[in-house]
Symmetry: C2
Subunit: 352 residues, 2 copies
C-alpha cells in the first residue's frame, strides 16, 4: 500500500467529535436536550400523508416553505435561509465571513460546533471562559476580547451547557463593539427562554440569528433550522450554501410545525413547570445546581459525576457528563413532570 493522503493542517489538528448517540432507543433520553415527548402529531400525520414514491424522487423545492416560515418568524424571505440544522447555519456563516487565520471569538464552554467549524476554517480562535461558580455570561471579558480584526463572534443564547443567557442590552453592546464581525446569536433554546435578538437584524447589519426545529419543536431527526440576517448578508451567505442541503420532508414538516404553535407552547409550559419541580427536588436532595434558561439543568455532582452518569445509564436514564468542561457537572434535559420524577427517583436512589 502506498502512503495515505495528507489532510489540511487545520483538519489534522482537530480532535474527532463523536457524540454518543448509539443505543438510546429504549432509554429515557435526557442527554441531548431533545423534545422528550415528540413533535406535534400534526407533523407526523402530515408527513405520512405526503410521502409518496414520486414526491421522494424529486429535488427539494423551498419556495412555499420559505414563504410560510418567513411569515411565521416575521421576516422577509430575503432575510432568511433554511439550513440543515443549526450546524449548517454556523458552517454557512463561517464559510461566508471567516478566512484562514481570521480571528473568531467563542465562549467556553459552549456548543461544540462553533469551535468545530472555526477550526475547520483554520481560524484563530479566542475562547472566553464563563465565570467560574456562577456561570454568568462574561460580557466584560468578551467585550475586551473583541478586536478590530475579529471576523466572527459565535454565541448561544441561552448557552448550552451553562443554561445562562445574555440580555438584549448585552447583545447590543457586543454588536456595537464588533461592527465588522459576523455576530451569531444562536437561539436554539429560544422557546424556553423568550429572549430573542431577531428583530435587531433590521438595526445591526453585523447580526445573524439562528433558530432550530431540533429542540422544542421535536424534529431533531429531520435536520432543519433557519438563519436570519439583513438581506445583504443573506444574499451573500446564500452564495456559500449548497442549493439542496435541506431535505424536502424537513422543509414540509417545518411549515406544519409552526402552524401548530399550541403544541409547542404546551410542551414548553410543561418543561418549565418540570424544571421548577426539579429545582425543588434537587434542594431537597442537597444537590447543588445551576438555574437554567433552557430545557436542561447542570447538576454539581463533584467527583461522582461520571459515576452517577454511568449508574443512571444502567437504570435506563441517559444524561451527559460535562465534567471535562465544567468541573463535576452533569447535564440533564428537562422533559415532562413524569420523566423528571423518574429521573429524581433514580438519582435519589444512587445519590444517598
Amino acid at each position: 500500500m502506498r502512503k495515505a493522503l495528507q489532510p489540511r493542517a487545520a483538519v489534522e489538528r482537530m480532535a474527532p467529535y463523536a457524540p454518543p448517540t448509539g443505543g438510546r432507543a429504549d432509554k429515557l433520553r435526557l442527554d441531548f436536550n431533545e423534545n422528550t415527548v415528540g413533535c406535534s402529531p400534526k407533523v407526523a400525520e402530515f408527513l405520512r400523508a405526503r410521502i409518496s414514491e414520486g414526491a421522494l424522487a424529486t429535488y427539494p423545492e423551498y419556495t412555499e416553505a420559505k414563504r410560510e416560515l418567513a411569515a411565521h418568524f416575521g421576516v422577509a424571505e430575503n432575510e432568511m435561509l433554511l439550513t440543515n440544522g443549526t450546524d449548517e447555519a454556523i458552517q454557512v456563516l463561517i464559510n461566508t465571513f471567516v478566512d484562514d487565520r481570521d480571528e473568531v471569538v467563542i465562549l467556553q464552554p459552549s456548543y461544540a460546533m462553533y469551535k468545530f467549524y472555526a477550526e475547520l476554517a483554520g481560524a484563530n480562535i479566542r475562547e472566553i471562559a464563563y465565570r467560574d461558580g456562577t456561570l454568568e455570561f462574561p460580557l466584560e471579558e468578551l467585550l475586551e476580547a473583541l478586536l478590530p480584526e475579529t471576523r466572527a463572534v459565535l454565541i448561544s443564547n441561552p448557552n448550552n451547557p451553562t443554561g445562562t443567557a445574555v440580555s438584549l442590552s448585552g447583545i447590543r453592546q457586543i454588536l456595537e463593539h464588533a461592527p465588522d464581525a459576523a455576530v451569531l446569536i444562536d437561539e436554539a433554546y429560544f422557546e424556553f427562554c423568550g429572549i430573542t435578538a431577531l428583530p435587531l437584524i433590521r438595526e445591526y447589519p453585523n447580526l445573524l440569528v439562528s433558530r432550530t426545529f431540533s429542540k422544542a419543536y421535536g424534529m431533531a431527526s429531520m435536520r432543519i433550522g433557519c438563519l436570519f440576517s439583513a438581506a445583504a448578508n443573506i444574499a451573500i451567505a446564500h452564495k456559500a450554501q449548497s442549493p439542496y442541503s435541506v431535505n424536502m420532508l424537513a422543509a414540509l414538516a417545518a411549515r406544519v410545525a409552526v402552524s401548530d404553535s399550541e403544541y409547542v407552547g404546551a410542551y414548553v409550559r410543561e418543561v418549565l413547570a418540570a424544571r421548577d419541580f426539579l429545582y425543588t427536588e434537587l434542594k431537597r436532595l442537597r444537590i447543588p445546581y445551576h438555574r437554567s434558561e433552557g430545557n436542561f439543568v447542570l447538576l454539581r455532582l463533584g467527583d461522582r459525576a461520571a459515576q452517577v452518569r454511568d449508574a443512571l445509564c444502567g437504570a435506563g436514564v441517559l444524561v451527559r457528563d460535562r465534567s471535562y468542561e465544567i468541573e463535576g457537572c452533569v447535564r440533564v434535559t428537562v422533559g415532562t413532570r413524569a420523566q423528571t420524577e423518574r429521573f429524581v427517583r433514580e438519582l435519589e436512589r444512587l445519590w444517598r
Copy 2:
C-alpha cells in the same frame, strides 16, 4: 443603516448558483436526471410506518444504516461516510484536503458543485475542456494538467451533462499520475453505466468514490449519498464532517432502498431501453445527439436550443438548456418508454 458585512473574497467572487426548481410539480420533469417514476414503493411504505412523533424528535443515529450500506456496497464500515447527498461528499473532500490557493483540477463542462466547493475553499481551479464535437473524456489533457502540487481532481463518471465516461484504465492512469491528490470519482449515474472504481479504494490511497440515492434510487428529496475511500482517509474526513448532516429518515430509507435491488434494476433496464428508443426517434427526426452512459441525453438543437426548451415547458415537459456550456445543446432526462414517447411527440411537433 450601517454598512453591510464584508464577505470573504472567495465568496464575493462566486456567481450565485440557483437551479430552476420552482413550479415543477405538475410537469413531466426531464430536467434533473431524477428517477421519473419514483423510489421503491417499499421505501415509501417503510417511511410511513416508521414515522412517529417520538422517532422524529431524536437525533440521527447511523450505526445500523452504516452497517447495512457497507455490506451492500462491499466495503468495511470504516471505508465509508454517509453524506447529505453527493454535495456533502464533495464538500467534505474539499474541506479535508484542499486549502486556500491549493490546486484543484476539474473538467468543463461537469457537475456544477465541484467548482462551487473548490471556489468556496479559495482554491486555484484548473478546468480541462471536454473534446469539442465528440465530448470524449480528455484523458491526455487531464494527465498533462496534473502537477505535483495538485491537491484534488474531481470527476463525474459518467459525466453530467456530456454523458461520456472514462474507462477504469483511464482512472488508473489518473490515480498513478496524481499520487498526492484526492481523486474523486463521482458515480452518481453508476447504475446506468456499470463502470465502478469502488474496488480500487483498496489499491489507491488517493481515490475517493461517491454514490448517491438521488438518481436511479429515486430519493432526491431526501438527500443521502455515500463517500468511500481507504480507512485512513475516511477517518480524517470524518473529522471534517458535521456529526448530524444526514437526516434519519434518509438513512433509514437508504437501507430499505438497497434491499429492493429488483426495483432499481427494473427501472434501470426500462431507462436503457427508452434511451435506445430515443436514439432511434432522434435519428428519424434528424436531430443530432450524443450517446450517453447516463439517464440523460444531450441533443444538438443549435440556435433553437433555448426556444425549444421554452416551448417544451409550455407543453408541460421540462428539459435543461446547456447551451451556455455546450453550444446548442439541450439535456433531456430519460425516463420510461411512455414518458420518452411523450417527449418525442412534443419535440416533433415543435421541431418541424
